[in-house]
């Protein structure tokens, strides 16, 4: 049979038959389920807690099937969303970084949940603490589920603390001056001992997020409550001077985020201030790590938050309603309990016995958190990079704090106008 040659006519006929058969069979498969399918563009793959939320939702068989599509990090997922929307195939929902708030609403046309169904939207949001709702309210529209929130905290390797002879009973509320004094003692002691893994005392994270925390803790703002750029204030300068102080004192050798994490988890770095969402990673280490509040300056602590929200982008009414069904589950006690293992803070009104998010983060959340800087304007996303570059110039001592802040103010103002 295999050796029988096919004539051109047979070939054409068999090809046509195959095409016809396949076109007939696909609709049958599609009709097998009457569920509305919603595609969620996310930053998490199949092995992450988000997939567990999706799976638990699908098991409930509510007439909606959710599909988690991993689209890379925030930038990559947003780039895909731009091209998909341009091609008329917007993702039904998308995990959207806080910093993309204005872009999501003004460019990608993220839907106002209340516009889809006010009663359902209000019921969903009633599952969350009222303090987080302003973070997902852009231009008066409620554009997302505020379920993924983190805040910078201080992670301390307490084994090193003990090895340096410091008091291992570390208070929850720590100040900048106290932390630097401890780090100086720790550095001196561990260097003198020739500690086998120790390389550096402190890393405050060289980025726009922790520098924002320092500026706010000094009483300043990056963007004022009325949305104006406020980098040229005395408070901003005081915050940035404090932020750069450990570099000047040789306690902090600024490295990038991944090198910083690798150094901390391999016990080369003793103290780091970074996201509370690293809780699962920190909890998995086999040395004694504690989280304490972010170092406070003289003024009252005024910490910022970060993370992402889940927003609806589809213009199809049926899919938008289905998206709300998914959100109802995600916001419910059951959905939140599965979700809490991701390491973000519990922003819901539900109580859980145990979540990995550290007490320090929950305490900062209870104190009240501002949003991370959501840069407005058509070129707002560039503003973040420009500000990050000026933070780098200050840390590298390429510019004085005052000059860098003045230059940043001048360079960023037109970008966010």
């Amino acid at each position: 049979m295999l050796n029988t040659p096919l004539s051109r006519r047979q070939m054409m006929l068999s090809g046509a038959a195959a095409v016809a058969a396949s076109s007939l069979s696909f609709p049958r498969i599609a009709r097998a389920s009457s569920d509305t399918e919603i595609v969620i563009s996310s930053t998490w793959g199949q092995d992450k807690p988000f997939q567990k939320v999706v799976d638990a939702f699908n098991e409930m068989k509510l007439g909606v099937t959710a599909v988690n599509r991993f689209d890379g990090n925030y930038e990559e997922a947003t780039a895909r969303a731009v091209t998909s929307i341009a091609a008329g195939r917007a993702p039904d929902l998308m995990v959207t970084g806080w910093k993309f708030g204005y872009f999501a609403r003004r460019t990608l046309n993220a839907r106002d949940l209340r516009e889809i169904d006010e009663a359902r939207a209000n019921a969903i949001l009633a599952n969350f603490q009222p303090s987080v709702l302003p973070l997902v309210t852009i231009d008066g529209a409620l554009i997302g589920l505020p379920w993924a929130m983190s805040t910078p905290v201080t992670w301390i390797n307490r084994d090193m603390w003990r090895a340096a002879g410091l008091d291992a009973d570390i208070p929850m509320d720590i100040t900048h001056d106290w932390l630097l004094a401890q780090c100086a003692k720790l550095d001196e002691a561990l260097k003198a001992q020739g500690h086998p893994t120790y390389r550096s005392a402190l890393d405050l994270s060289s980025n726009e997020w922790t520098s924002q925390a320092y500026i706010q803790n000094a009483g300043g703002h990056i963007l004022s409550p009325t949305g104006e750029l406020a980098l040229d204030s005395a408070e901003a300068a005081a915050g940035m001077r404090a932020f750069a102080e450990p570099v000047r004192r040789g306690l902090w050798r600024p490295v990038d985020g991944q090198a910083q994490l690798n150094a901390f988890t391999s016990q080369a770095l003793a103290v780091t201030t970074t996201s509370s969402a690293y809780a699962p990673l920190m909890n998995a280490q086999d040395f004694d790590i504690v989280a304490r509040k972010f170092p406070r300056l003289d003024a009252a602590r005024r910490m910022n938050s970060g993370g992402n929200f889940l927003a609806v982008y589809t213009n199809n009414d049926e899919k938008a309603q289905a998206a709300l069904t998914f959100m109802e589950f995600a916001a419910s006690r059951e959905g939140q309990e599965i979700w809490s293992s991701v390491g973000y803070m519990n922003t819901s009104v539900h109580d859980f016995a145990e979540i990995p998010s550290p007490e320090a983060a929950q305490a900062q959340f209870a104190d009240g958190l501002t949003a991370e800087t959501i840069w407005p304007g058509a070129r707002g996303l560039e503003a973040q990079t420009v500000w990050r570059q000026y933070v780098g110039r200050i840390l590298e001592d390429q510019m004085s704090v005052e000059d860098a802040l003045r230059a940043a103010q001048a360079d960023i103002a037109p970008l966010i106008a």
């Binding site: 930038e75 947003t78 780039a79 731009v82 091209t83 929307i85 341009a86 872009f103 460019t107 990608l108 046309n109 390389r199 550096s200 060289s206 050798r253 600024p254 490295v255 990038d256 991944q258 090198a259 690798n262 150094a263 391999s266 080369a268 770095l269 070129r379 996303l381 560039e382 990079t385 420009v386 990050r388 570059q389 780098g392 110039r393 590298e396 390429q398 360079d411």
Partner: protein, 295 residues
């Protein structure tokens, strides 16, 4: 009549798919980029606004573009000579080893980095360069030297990225030179050797002129390819930082288009890069082609 018509059309039909591909995937994007460079459009808004030369003014006045342009020049000055000279010398050494097992081992070992994806190679180099836990600093400290922030120090980062890119890319040029050296008739070099010519003189006076078409090809493609080679490394290893120390023109273009969604600026940057590449290629042909011996 019909048969003659068919035979006349046949060649065009055969090349039509290739021409179509080139038109759709090469020339159409160039035209779209050109149109974008004069407009303010985000692909989502239904209307595109004509802005004249505004995007070009914005890009040419952007300090990050200046940094990208400056760094691209520095990268080219560092990498292009290294990517030509060292593969040339390595290929010559490999030719001397003949067809031995050792030669095959060296060929494979030296070419291996070329086929490793930057995402994997970058992760490995990131570990080597880690300022607090990386191998390089462990070795430096053991030898009594101060540890370095290889990728975090703005003065050092461009050299560290260049080293990674060189390691990743020199293999292809080495292979091209190896093929060219192997094609040289052995009696030519043998005659020179009998006449008492030293190895360096044989290389410079006989072999290099004989492989000059390959050398010319390698120089042109290497100078143009530096930007392309850098994109993956910079994306994985530094994100253009620290500050703007490792950014370059293609990374700037990528950021403008796919990170900041400023498609008009990205279109203008594309046109500026295309003009630069066109000029550099023209200059290379003008300066070097007359020195090539096509045999």
């Amino acid at each position: 009549m019909a048969k003659r018509m068919t035979s006349r059309l046949a060649p065009y039909l055969f090349v039509a798919p290739a021409i179509l591909m080139v038109l759709v995937f090469l020339y159409l994007p160039i035209l779209v980029s050109l149109a974008l460079s004069f407009s303010d459009w985000n692909f989502i808004r239904p209307d595109a606004r004509f802005v004249g030369l505004e995007n070009y003014r914005a890009v040419l006045g952007d300090t990050n573009f200046h940094a990208a342009l400056r760094n691209t020049g520095i990268y080219t000055l560092i990498l292009a000579p290294l990517q030509v000279v060292i593969p040339l010398l390595l290929a010559r050494l490999l030719v001397r080893l003949g067809k031995s097992r050792l030669a095959n081992f060296y060929k494979s070992a030296l070419f291996l980095p070329t086929i490793i994806a930057f995402s994997i190679a970058g992760a490995t180099w990131l570990w080597l360069f880690n300022p607090l836990t990386g191998l390089f600093n462990i070795v430096l400290e053991a030898a009594g030297f101060a540890p370095q922030r290889w990728l975090e120090d703005p003065k050092l980062a461009i050299w560290s990225v260049s080293a990674t890119v060189f390691w990743k890319t020199f293999g292809l040029n080495m292979l091209l030179f190896l093929a060219a050296f192997t094609a040289i008739p052995p009696e030519l070099t043998e005659a020179a050797r009998i006449d008492g010519a030293r190895p360096a003189r044989i290389l410079w006076r006989i072999e290099v002129p004989l492989i000059s078409p390959t050398l010319f090809f390698v120089i042109v493609t290497t100078v143009l390819g530096v930007m392309d080679d850098l994109l993956g490394a910079v994306d994985v290893m530094t994100g253009g930082g620290p500050i703007d120390a490792t950014t370059n023109l293609l990374f700037y273009l990528w950021e403008k288009g796919l990170r900041f969604f400023q498609f008009g600026h990205a279109g203008a940057t594309t046109m500026i890069i295309a003009a630069l590449i066109g000029f550099i290629t023209w200059a290379q042909f003008k300066l070097l082609e007359r020195k090539v011996h096509y045999g």
